[in-house]
């Protein structure tokens, strides 16, 4: 069942074409990675999918409803959540940061507190609940952002390079936790990265975007085994890197 | 945290609202029960303290709230000409006559006079002490010694200009300076910089202690007489002018009782009166 669909989307900035997508649809429960080199239009695509930026033309359908991108109903936003590259800390405590979305959504105080603590515990930062958000390390802050997103119990979760600012061990453990939560909750997840290793770990589906166009999409395995001519050089570089790191493969 | 902010804000707001409430209340009270009258007068008159003594009595008798606006004579007359005041107490006879002729003011009455004195440094570098005032101004022009003018179109400034004109003295000498300020400030500048200055006697007496370096060098010249007139602004010319109270104030200053108060005002503090009443002579 399709949750989110883009059709004939184009996005221009100062008369320059940034992004052109003929069709992209996400099924409920899909975990899809969007990969491409820097400046390919990944973040723009995510912003359009998350309905944070209106496209120049085209249609967006969410759960069967056609969306006017210039007038997103609040109720629709309350069904999704977003996490960005540089963890966004509001000038308040960790608890308040996580509770912010629930407060905006109008969740009652008791339930709010219970949900916040549930997710702070899940991401292992419940002991920091009364700390000010500005005092957190990068990894802790990104855990806080994930807790904020999951506390909203979203149907779709949009993530823009959520791990790129983190060191490798932090990244690895957080990716593992995230993946298990996504599976357990059956949340549709859209995950932007330039790192194929992250994508392979996080998603089952993949879209390769180069120069503002989706070059290839499908199951991660299928795409990697048979990359198209344009996608191949970019994906090939990743494969070489992987083999170099792991000489035991061949 | 948020609560404390809220608390501070609401306290401030309530205080301020209450304050505003009070003022509106009193304004309403003024409009309902009490008339309002604007008296435009000169800073020198106001600073002497005479009006602080006279006006409360007038307010009681007439049940009126008097707003005393103390400005230069030029501005006071301008307020009269525009109907922004209800009565005027000023000391610039020629300009006053123009105002009456123009129809903006009526009922102009001679209330009192004092006189101007010419002050200079104790050493009197221009040797003016034996001269009359016109000759004195000429001597200062020739000697090019510091001379301070208010330059603010006040009564004193107008008087100074008429003497300059009479003495045929131009103000182009290098030590002629205009302060653009009131009498008290200009006197202090003259004292600090050891210059000559024309002032009304009242302001000089009230500040004498602080003006150690200055002495009276010329006084008593007929030209230096400083007559004060009161007049009401013509209510037929301007809708909002309070003609009733304006007229009452003119009459009030001319009553025997008030003239007697003027006669003795200042003697206790300065050993001599600041003003000489004329209405009953």
């Amino acid at each position: 069942m399709t949750l989110l669909q883009l059709e004939a989307i184009s996005y221009q900035k100062q008369n320059k074409m940034i992004l052109q997508v003929d069709e992209l649809s996400l099924k409920r429960g899909d975990h899809i990675g969007i990969i491409g080199p820097n400046g390919a239009g990944k973040s723009t695509l995510l912003n359009i999918l998350a309905m944070l930026e209106p496209p120049t033309s085209g249609t967006i359908t969410f759960d069967g409803m056609k969306i006017n991108p210039n007038k997103i109903p609040i109720s629709l936003r309350h069904r999704t959540a977003s996490v960005f590259q540089h963890s966004q800390r509001f000038d308040m405590t960790v608890f308040q940061n996580v509770a912010l979305g629930l407060k905006i959504k109008g969740i009652a105080k008791n339930e709010r507190e219970q949900r916040v603590h549930e997710w702070l515990t899940r991401f292992r930062i419940d002991h920091l609940s009364n700390e000010h958000a500005y005092n957190l390390s990068g990894g802790e802050a990104q855990r806080m952002n994930l807790a904020r997103a999951f506390a909203l119990e979203p149907e779709a979760l949009f993530m823009d390079e959520p791990f790129s600012a983190l060191d490798a061990p932090t990244k690895a453990s957080l990716m593992y936790e995230l993946k298990s939560i996504l599976r357990e909750r059956d949340i549709t997840a859209i995950f932007v990265s330039h790192d194929l290793l992250e994508i392979e770990a996080m998603s089952e589906k993949l879209a390769v975007i180069i120069d503002g166009r989706i070059i290839q999409k499908g199951n991660v395995r299928d795409v990697l085994n048979a990359p198209s001519d344009i996608a191949a050089p970019f994906l090939h570089a990743w494969n070489q890197l992987k083999q170099g790191l792991d000489p035991g493969v061949q | 945290m948020k609560k404390s902010l809220l608390a501070i804000c609401s306290i401030l707001f309530l205080t301020a609202c209450q304050a505003e409430g009070e003022t509106t209340d009193s304004n309403e009270a003024n409009q309902n029960e009490m008339d309002e009258m604007i008296l435009a007068t000169t800073t020198s008159t106001y600073d002497s303290g005479l009006l602080d003594e006279l006006v409360p009595q007038f307010e009681d008798e007439e049940n009126v709230n008097v707003k005393i606006i103390a400005v230069g004579t030029g501005q006071a007359l301008e307020m009269g000409e525009r109907g922004e005041a209800d009565s005027l107490l000023v000391h610039a006879p020629d300009a006053e006559k123009e105002l009456v002729e123009g129809g903006s003011a009526i009922n102009r009455q001679y209330v009192m006079y004092n006189d101007f004195v010419f002050l200079g440094p104790e050493e009197d570098p221009a040797n003016v002490s034996d001269l009359d005032i016109a000759e004195g101004f000429q001597a200062i022009h020739e000697a090019d010694v510091p001379f301070f003018s208010r330059g603010d179109d006040s009564g004193t400034h107008k008087k100074e200009r008429s003497i300059l004109e009479k003495a045929d003295v131009e103000t182009d000498f290098s030590n002629y300076e205009e302060s653009g300020q009131g009498m008290g400030d200009t006197l202090r500048i003259a004292a600090e910089r050891a210059g000559y200055i024309l002032t009304d006697r009242g302001t000089y007496l009230s500040l004498e202690e602080q003006l150690e370096t200055l002495d009276i060098v010329i006084e008593g010249d007929e030209v230096l007489e400083n007559p004060y007139h009161v007049m009401q602004v013509n209510p037929d010319e301007f809708d909002m002018v309070n003609g009733e109270k304006g007229e009452a104030f003119v009459e009030f200053l001319l009553t025997e009782e008030i003239q007697d108060i003027i006669e003795v005002f200042g003697t206790e503090e300065y050993g001599e009166p600041l003003f000489f009443p004329v209405a009953n002579e």
Partner: protein, 232 residues
């Protein structure tokens, strides 16, 4: 030197004995300045937000206007307010000239551009990514504005302090539109100018201490409030 000593002792005597006139003048100053600042806040903060968050035709012009208005000399504001409130002026019939209300109006005119501009600047400085994150949480317009304002509160408090400082220090406009009437429109600054011109330096001293104390206390309170939010 002697004047300074006698001035100081007289000043303390007047403050300690709670001289009636001085108390009235101080109380009026507080009321007028706080009310003017509050009105400027109520008008200025939403306008600053509008300029920072909404794109509309004429926005740039309004921003330039508000920022230029920060340099508006109080006497110029005083002159304009006077002209409007004259009996012969457009608002003459309400008879506000030479009342505390006139002073409040003039002070709003001089402090409003400061509060608008500094609110605008405080919101402009916020990270655009943070705004995006907030937007993604699906707030209503009111919630969006409120939480951004909350994020910018350090700058907003600074804006209020700057506005209040301007209002407390201002003398030219209050003199012109208020007329310095005792017990009615005489505030600390206009009283000081008058007492100096009358040669009553001791009274002027007393008034200056009160003014400085008020300015210091209010700034201290606001700074304390501002810093408590930030330093952890």
């Amino acid at each position: 030197m002697e004047l300074i000593v006698s001035g100081l002792s007289e000043a303390f005597r007047m403050i300690i004995e709670l001289d009636r006139d001085i108390f009235d003048i101080t109380w009026l100053t507080l009321r007028v300045c706080i009310l003017a600042t509050l009105i400027s806040m109520i008008i200025g903060i939403p306008l600053g937000m509008l300029l920072a968050l909404k794109h509309f035709i004429g926005r740039r012009f309004l921003i330039v206007l508000a920022q230029a208005g920060m340099g508006l000399p109080p006497v110029v504001a005083g002159l304009w307010v006077t002209i409007f409130l004259w009996r012969s002026g457009p608002l003459g019939s309400i008879q506000w000239l030479f009342t505390p209300t006139a002073i409040v109006i003039a002070q709003v005119v001089v402090s409003l551009p400061i509060i608008i501009s500094l609110t605008y600047a405080a919101l402009q400085r916020l990270d655009p990514q943070l705004k995006k994150q907030l937007k993604a949480l699906g707030p209503t317009r009111l919630q969006y504005g409120w939480f951004l304002l909350r994020e910018a509160r350090f700058g907003i408090v600074a804006a209020v302090m700057a506005g209040l400082g301007r209002v407390l220090a201002e003398v030219g406009a209050a003199q012109m539109v208020g007329g310095n009437l005792l017990g009615d429109t005489r505030i600390l600054t206009t009283a000081m100018v008058m007492e100096v011109s009358r040669g009553n330096f001791d009274v002027a001293f007393a008034l200056s201490f009160i003014l400085m104390t008020i300015a210091f206390l209010i700034t201290f309170l606001l700074t304390y409030f501002q810093q408590r939010q930030v330093i952890r």
